[in-house]
Amino acid sequence: MALDKATVARIAALARIKVPDSELDALAGALSKILTWVEQLDAVDVSGVEPMVAVTHARPPLREDKVTDGGIRDEILANAPETTDGFFVVPKVVE
């Protein structure tokens, strides 16, 4: 699959990554090359094959339904770039 510049810009927007306009062409080339390479899987017949969604065959254990964590607001906020009054701060999102 050859991706054009517009498609790469759309994927970048979906991934929330700002890509400068000047880099879109080169990136489209690199991504197209990788996608073309992985398309070799088209040659594999997978009819009737169930997708492998996990490695472990065993059913994961269930733990007791009780609170095991919490009350650590300050630790959680300690690494935030900006906080105020015990909250994360982001640019205004409501009009």
Binding site: L3, V8, I11, A12, A13, L14, A15, R16, I17, K18, V19, P20, L27, A30, L31, K33, I34, L35, W37, V38, E39, Q40, L41, V44, V46, V49, E50, P51, M52, V53, A54, V55, T56, A58, P60, P61, R63, I72, E75, I76, A78, N79, A80, P81, E82, F88, V90, P91, V93
Partner: protein, 492 residues
């Protein structure tokens, strides 16, 4: 033999006999770590922490109630969260992140008496095979080609771990392996690297790359040390639902056991066109060694091998794009301001991720996006099922498999850098093992014509690390690999 020349097994005996102290061993490694700075393996050195832990180890050793890893200085891949010590995954986007918690695997090590020397370099978010995508710059391999002083890559992504152990700047290290990131650098640096079965070690507190493939493991001077380290690292963790409920067997007891009568599978699809003849010759020697030890070899077929890399390069980026969604500039790490919240996200991620990480997140986003999910991601999951089925079938006629670890020796910093796919081919022999969730080990088995280490890989059935270790120890005994890198941090 100097202190930094000892293995864990040897140091443990000397510590218990009180021939040496944990403090002496820690001081020797703190010095070695400083001497090895030109390799740029360590991102953070934590000598005070190491000395404080050594003091506690010495107190226990004095009283004769020592722990299994008392006094063992370990280098930690900077992908494991360490409480109070900066953890960056070698990414700009996590610069300054100081975890308020400790990963389960590292907590297990410290609980067993090991001490942390520092955090070591890796490819950014463990995405790479040469430790050149690190935002902190590349780590150098302590080995050099004969008559050529150009710096070589240590492999990756656990390149800092491998370089530190090879250069005697850590007694052991821990790494993570998503597609070969423990085994390939171990091969490039002439050390042992063990990727346990998926689920053997908890992934809790490890910066996530591809959650269905990631697994932590030890990187050590010999096979016994890998068994000793794994013992301390492994076990069920309620905080990781994918960690197995199985009790860990006595791994060290497997080392030195006979492989007489064992059936060793030789997968014919691993004989690649254009594979260097010295890799082929190394593999043949390995086959002779296991036969001489009383095992028989069996020709087996893993017919989907040629599709493993393409499968991996859909599944791993897909999982990565999801896992890396958390880096948003709001809760931790880098923030690049924007007018709106959307812009803040885009600016932060645009500047915070390096080129390889950005490529993989975009590929992952694309293969998971509406209209392409079935064609790429679902298809890859189905091929993955066929790859796993190949291994299940093959293990009906063998107990373990023997292959080369990597298709080449270490290459120079700068080589293979402009073509991502050429770089991906490094992992052709290791990636299928992750896709199937199996254990694999790399053992140094010889030198290339240029004087660089080459590893052999042993692959085992799920949760049968004991057989993997048994075969690996036989290879180690036969190979008698005693070559020393060009750079070591003091007399070996």
């Amino acid at each position: 033999m100097s202190l930094i020349g000892l293995t864990i097994g040897q140091a443990r005996d000397q510590l218990r006999r009180k021939a040496i102290t944990a403090r002496e061993l820690a001081e020797a490694y703190i010095k070695a770590m400083a001497v090895a700075r030109p390799l740029k393996a360590y991102l953070v050195e934590t000598p005070d922490r190491a000395l404080a832990a050594a003091k506690q180890s010495d107190a226990r050793l004095q009283k004769g109630n020592s722990l299994p890893l008392d006094g063992v200085p370990v280098a930690v891949k900077d992908l494991f969260c360490t409480e109070g010590v900066e953890t960056t995954a070698a990414s700009k986007i996590l610069a300054g992140f100081v975890p308020p918690y400790e990963s389960t695997v590292t907590a297990n090590l410290w609980r067993n008496g090991a001490l942390m020397l520092g955090k070591v370099n890796l490819d950014e978010f463990a995405m790479g095979s040469a430790t050149i995508t690190s935002a902190r710059g590349p780590t150098e391999n302590p080995w050099r080609r004969r008559g050529d002083n150009r710096p070589l890559v240590p492999g990756g992504s656990s390149g800092g771990s491998a370089a530190a152990v090879a250069a005697r700047a850590a007694l052991a290290a821990i790494g993570t392996d998503t597609g070969g990131s423990i085994r390939q650098p171990a091969s490039f640096c002439g050390i042992v690297g063990l990727k346990p079965t998926y689920g053997r070690c908890s992934r809790w507190g490890i910066v996530a790359f591809a959650s269905s493939l990631d697994q932590a493991g030890p990187m050590t001077r010999d096979v016994r040390d890998a068994a000793i380290m794994l013992q301390a690292m492994a076990g069920h963790d309620p905080k990781d639902a994918t960690s197995a409920l199985l009790p860990a067997p006595n791994f060290e007891a497997a080392v030195g056991q006979s492989i007489k009568g064992m059936r060793i599978g030789i997968p014919k699809e691993y004989r690649l066109d254009g594979m260097p003849t010295e890799i082929e010759a190394l593999w043949r020697r390995g086959i002779e060694w296991v036969k001489a030890a009383g095992a028989t070899t069996v020709d087996i077929s893993l017919k989907m091998t040629q599709y493993a890399l393409a499968t991996y390069y859909i599944i791993a980026p897909a999982e990565a794009s999801s896992n890396l969604a958390r880096y948003d500039g709001v809760r931790f790490g880098l923030r690049v301001p924007g007018e709106t919240l959307e812009e803040l996200y885009e600016n932060t991620r645009g500047q915070g991720f390096g080129a390889e990480v950005r490529r993989r997140v975009l590929i992952g986003t694309y293969v998971l996006s509406a209209g392409y999910y079935d064609a790429y991601y679902l298809k890859a999951q189905k091929v993955r099922a066929l790859i796993a089925r190949d291994f299940d079938e093959a293990f009906k006629s063998c107990d373990a498999m023997l292959t080369p670890t990597a298709p080449s020796a270490a290459f120079a910093i700068g080589e293979k850098m402009d073509d991502p796919i050429a770089m991906y081919l490094n992992d052709v022999f290791t990636v299928p093992v992750n896709l199937a969730g199996l254990p694999g080990i790399s053992v140094p088995a010889g030198l290339s014509a240029e004087g660089l280490p080459l590893g052999l890989q042993v692959i085992g059935k799920a949760f049968d690390e004991e057989t993997v270790l048994r075969v690996a120890a036989v290879l180690e005994d036969a190979a008698k690999f005693d070559a020393v890198p060009a750079f070591v941090a003091g007399a070996p």
